[in-house]
Symmetry: D2
Subunit: 352 residues, 4 copies
C-alpha cells in the first residue's frame, strides 16, 4: 500500500467480537493493528490463542496488558471489545488521551442515563460522555459518525430490528402500537465465557427462548425506532437461541395503517436504502436466510403483506458478529478516519 | 404378553412419520404390526430399508403393496402415513371394509369442504367422511376419539398452537384479535422427499422463514381455536425452519384483556391440564426447550406476562414427529381400541 | 409392578452420565431411585435441574449430599457417576457398608495398579479392590458380573473397540501387531463441565483430533484385547471430536493373516455374537451409523475386507452415553441384582 | 482496477463447486466472469438462483446455455464445474477453440487411461489430452501449471492426503507399505444433487463411513504419492461423512523407518513448505481443525510421533470446497494467466 496506514488498537481479544475484529483487520488495507490487549493472555502471540491467524498479517502480534498510556502511544483509534462497565472506564481514559474510540459494549448506546442504569442494573460513571457518543448505525447517522470521537456501536439485535423497521416507521406505514419482534440468534451472541448453558451439548439439536420479557436490547430498540417515528415507542421484543454459530433473523410483526400492496411497501423500502448497498431489500417473494449474509455486512430484508390479518411482516437477517458487532465497528472506524466505509468489508457470504 | 394382541397396519413407511411409527410400535405391548406397505420398497424387509430396526420385533416384517383387501384381511386398524389426496381414497376403501383408520394426512382435518379445497388446491372426493372424522387431539376430544372409526390426526404446528392457546381462550384471558403465532420447526417437518432445499448443506448452519403468509396449517388452527373461543378467529401464523431434526417451538403473542398476574395465568393453565399429564405447564420462570420433549408425547408450555406491553406470551414445545404426528396417532389408536392411552408412549426424552 | 422393587442410589447427577441414568431409570420396572446426590445441587428436586424429568417417576426426587451411611440406609446398589479419584474413595466406603457398587469412572478398570498410576497420574488408594472389581462388559464377563459386588464400568471408546475386535482376535484372523483404531466421539464424551473448548461455537461446524497419542483409554483397550488374544498388545488409538451429542464410531484397521473372504469373516462375527442380541453384526455391505444406535444398548458392527491391501476394516458404532456408560452400568446392575439384563433397556433408536 | 481484466467463463453453476467459484470470483480483481452456464437455469440472473450474490459484481450476470463457440467468443479461460464424462467432451471442444481450461472433474487426473476406465467405469473419449493435462496442485507442479492449457484440478481428498504425505515420502521418513488414510469430509463433498441420503435429517446428528474400500480418489492419491516416493504405492483410503458443510480432516497413519523425534519431523515438514505459505505446518503440539481453514486456501498440518507404536500420525485439514476444489482451480487459473497466485484468495478463515 502506498498510502499511510493508520495504527489501531483492540482492547479485549478473547471474546467473539474481538476474534472477529482480528479476522476483519487481517484483510484491511489501511489499518494496522499495533496493539491487542488481554489480561488473561498477555505475552502470547495472537496465533498462539487463535491458530487460524497463523501466517496472516496480525498472527505474530504479541498480546499486551490494557494500558491507556501505552495504547495512546501506539494507536490513533481503539476498539473496545470488553464487557460493559469495564468499557466505560477505558473509553473515558482513552478519550482523555486524545484517541478515537469505538465501543462495542452497551455503555454508551442509551442516551438516557436512568434508562441505562435501570436496564443494566449498575451506575453509569461517565454520564457526560452519553451526550457526545454517536450511535454507530451508518445508514442512519453517517454524518455524525464521521465527526465522532466516541462511537456507541449498536447491539446485534437492535441493528436487525432498526434496519427492518426504519422505512416502515419513517413512512408511517404501520401502527406504532403493538409491534412484536420475534428474534432468533446464533450462539456467538451468547459470548465466549465458559458456562454450562452454552456448551455444545446444551445448544445443539435444540431450540429455546431466553431472556423473556426483559432482554436488555429492548430500550435500545425503543430509543432508536422512537426517534424515527417521532414518538415514544414500546415494543414486545423476544429472543431465542439458534443452534448455529452466526446469524440473527428477526421476524417483525406490524399492522398496516394504510391500504398498501406488497409492491407499494417494497418500493418505499427500496427507496429508503437506495444509497445504502449493505441493506439488500429482497425481491417480493424472496425471504432472507442467515447464511446469505454470513460473515458480511449485509442486512437482508424480506417483506410479506398478509391481507387476511392486515399485517406487514418484516424479516431482517444479519450476521450478528460482523454486521451486528465487529464489522459495523470497523465501518464506523473507517468513517471516523476518513477511509472508505467499505474498506476491509467487501466480503461475499460464505456459502454454504 | 398374556393379553391378545391387536393387529395393525401401516400404509406408507418411507416418510418420517412412517419411520417414527415403526420406532414406536417396536415398543408397544398390545399392537402387532401385521402389514407395512410401500409401493417403492415392497418385497424388502423393514430392516433392509431401516437398519436401525435390525433385531427389533418388526425388523423382519416384509413390506407389501398397499392393497385394501389384504389390509382388511390382516388388520383391525390402519395408520395412513401417505400424502394428502392419496390418503382420502385409501381411508374410504379401508372404512368400507370395516377397518378403523388413523389418517396422518390433512385430508379430514378441516370440517368444511370448501376451506379444504381452497387451502389444499384440490377437490375432496370423500366429503361425506368429513362429518364422521374426529379431530384426534386427545386433550380436547378424548370421548369422541374412543368412539371414532376415522381419526384426522392433527398437524404438528396446530398441535403445539392449539394446546398453547386452549386455556387462554377457554378462560377468555386474551383478545381473540391480533394473535400472532411465530412457529419454528425441525427439518423432519419438511418430509423425506429428495429436494435440493432440504439437503443437509441447505439447512445446516442457517435459519429462514418459509411459507409466509399462507401456511396450510392456518385454517386448521383457526378452526380449532375458533371452536374453543366460540367465535370465528383469524390469526397470523408464520413458520420457520430450524437446523435440527425434531421439535417445534411456537411463540404465541396474545394480549391480556383481564388484569392478571403470571401466577393467575399459571393457575388456570395448570387447572386446564390437571388430568392431562402429557401437557406439562412449566413452573413460572421456566421456558420450554424442544430437546426436553424429544422423542416423547409431552407438550411443554411456558408462560410469560409482559406488563410493559400487556402481553401474555405463550411458548409451546412438542416433538413434531412423535406428539405432532406418529405418537399422537398411536395414542388415538390406543383410545379407539380400548387400550390404555399411554401404551407404547411412556417415553422419557432423549437428553441431551 | 407386583414384584418387589430394588432401591438404588446415584452418586453424582450433574454430569451427562448421571443425567442419562435418570433417563433410563425413569423407564425401569424393578429399580426405584431412592437417593440422588450432588454437592452443588443438593436440596433441589431432580426436575428443578432437569426440567425434562417433570412428570416422570423420579422428577420429584430431592437431591441430597453424598453420604455413605445415608446411602447404605436407603439403597441396595449405588451407581457412581463422579470423577475418578473421588470414585475410588466412595466405592470403598459403600462396599464397606455392604452395598453393591457400579463405578462409571476409570478407577477400577485397569487390573494393574502401576498402569493406572502411570496413565492417570495419581496414586490408587484402594488397590486391594482392583482384584475384586469385575470389568463390566456383559458380552465377555456375564458370569463374573452376576457374582460381583464392584463393577468397573467400561469406558466408552473401549466398549466400541473391544466389541469390534473380539471375534477377530479370538479367532486369530488378524495380525496382533500394527492395529490402528481411529475413533470419533460425540461431545457428551467431553463431559458437562464448563470449558471454552466445549462451547457450542467451538465444537459446532468443525472437526478435530484431540488427545493424541496418549488418550487414557489406550491401556484399557490394550488390557482387554490382550486378554482375548492371549498376548500383550500395543495399539495406535486416536480420538476425534464430532459435532454431535451422542455416538462413537471406531474405524479399526487390521491386517488379515488368513486367506478369508468377507463372508468368512462375517460368519465368525455372527457366531461370536449369536447369543448377544445387543451386538448387531450388519449384513455384508451395510455400514453402521451412530444414529442407528442412538439412545440404545446396540453395538453395530460393519465389516470390510479390502483385497488390495489385505486389510480387514472393522467399523463399530455405539451410543457413548447409553451403551458406553450409563446403559451398560444399568445392564450390569441388572445382572448383579438378578434382574433380566434387558430390563429398562429395551430401547429402539431415536430416528432420525 | 487500472490493469486490464481477463474474461473467464464458468460451465456448470448449480453445484457447490460452481457456487463457490461465484463467491471467489466476486472478490477477484483481475478476472471478470463473462459467461456462466447451466442447462437447467439458463435465462435467470445469478442472484435469482443465489440470492447471496445480490448486489455483488456477478449477481446480475445472466446464465446461458453451455455453448463452446459462445464461450470462446467471450472468454480466455473456462472453469468446468460439471460431472465427469461431460467435462471431458467440453474440455476438448474448448481447447480446440483455443481456450484455457481448468477442469474440476476427475476426467484428466489419472495419467493412465486404463486406471481411469477401471475406477470410473466408463470409457475415456479424449485420451490424447491425458498427456497434456497438468495435475493442478501448485505446491508440486507450479512451473508446469504456468505453462498448461488444461488443468486437471485435484480431488478434495487427494489434496489433503498428498500435501500431508509429501514431506514424509520425499524425505523417506516412513515405510511406503501399510499407510492408512482415515479421511472425514463435510457434506458439500457429496454434491448438490437431491438425494434422500444427503437430506439434512439423514446427515445431521450422525456419523458414518461410506464408499469403503474403493473410493474413487484412491488411484489419484496412489498415483501422486507414488511419484513422490519413486515407487508404486498402495494405500488403505477410507472416507467418512461429517455433519458439517465444509472441511476435510485426513488422519494419516504411517510407520517411521528412521529414528526421528517430533522436532526432526517438524523441521523437515517446515522446510518442505517454506516457500508455500498456504500450507501451514502447525507448531508441535497443535492439531488442525477444519474451521481454522474454513473458506480459505490453507492446508493445516499437525504432526504426532507415537513412540509406543513407532508411528508418525499426520493430520491434514483443508476446506474441501475452496482449497479442495474451486479455490485451487482459481489459483491454477491465476498461474495460467500470469496473475499473482494469491489474487482473490487472500482469505482469512471465518471463525467461528
Amino acid at each position: 500500500m502506498s498510502m499511510n496506514t493508520i495504527p489501531v488498537g483492540l482492547v479485549g481479544v478473547t471474546g467473539y467480537t474481538g476474534m472477529e475484529l482480528t479476522r476483519l483487520l487481517a484483510g484491511h488495507g489501511r489499518f494496522t493493528l499495533t496493539r491487542v490487549t488481554s489480561r488473561s493472555e498477555c505475552g502470547k502471540k495472537l496465533s498462539d490463542i487463535y491458530p487460524f491467524l497463523q501466517g496472516l498479517p496480525c498472527g505474530d502480534t504479541v498480546i499486551t496488558e490494557p494500558d491507556p498510556a501505552d495504547l495512546a502511544s501506539a494507536c490513533e483509534l481503539v476498539f473496545l471489545a470488553v464487557p460493559h462497565k469495564t468499557a466505560m472506564e477505558m473509553a473515558a481514559a482513552l478519550l482523555d488521551k486524545g484517541l478515537k474510540v469505538v465501543d462495542l459494549s452497551a455503555d454508551f448506546r442509551l442516551r438516557d442515563r436512568e434508562t441505562y442504569e435501570h436496564w443494566y442494573k449498575c451506575g453509569h460513571t461517565q454520564p457526560h460522555l452519553l451526550e457526545t457518543a454517536v450511535y454507530g448505525l451508518p445508514e442512519l447517522y453517517e454524518t455524525a459518525i464521521r465527526a465522532a470521537r466516541l462511537i456507541a456501536n449498536p447491539g446485534c439485535y437492535p441493528t436487525s430490528a432498526i434496519l427492518g423497521l426504519y422505512p416502515a416507521l419513517r413512512n408511517s406505514m404501520v401502527d406504532t402500537k403493538g409491534i412484536v419482534i420475534d428474534a432468533k440468534s446464533g450462539a456467538t451472541g451468547a459470548g465466549r465465557k465458559a458456562t454450562v448453558g452454552t456448551l455444545f451439548c446444551e445448544v445443539s439439536d435444540t431450540f429455546r427462548a431466553y431472556g423473556l420479557p426483559t432482554h436488555r436490547h429492548t430500550p435500545e430498540i425503543e430509543q432508536e425506532i422512537g426517534l424515527i417515528a417521532g414518538e415514544e415507542m414500546t415494543v414486545s421484543f423476544n429472543t431465542h437461541l439458534l443452534p448455529i454459530n452466526r446469524g440473527i433473523l428477526s421476524t417483525i410483526y406490524t399492522t398496516l395503517i394504510k391500504d398498501m400492496t406488497l409492491d407499494d411497501v417494497h418500493a418505499l423500502y427500496a427507496e429508503a436504502y437506495r444509497s445504502h448497498p449493505w441493506v439488500r431489500v429482497l425481491p417480493a417473494g424472496t425471504l432472507p436466510e442467515t447464511r446469505h449474509v454470513r460473515g458480511t455486512m449485509f442486512c437482508d430484508i424480506g417483506l410479506v403483506v398478509d391481507k387476511r390479518t392486515n399485517r406487514l411482516v418484516i424479516l431482517s437477517a444479519i450476521d450478528n458478529l460482523c454486521r451486528g458487532a465487529s464489522g459495523q465497528a470497523l465501518a464506523n472506524a473507517n468513517l471516523m478516519c476518513g477511509v472508505d466505509i467499505a474498506e476491509g468489508l467487501r466480503l461475499a457470504p460464505l456459502m454454504p
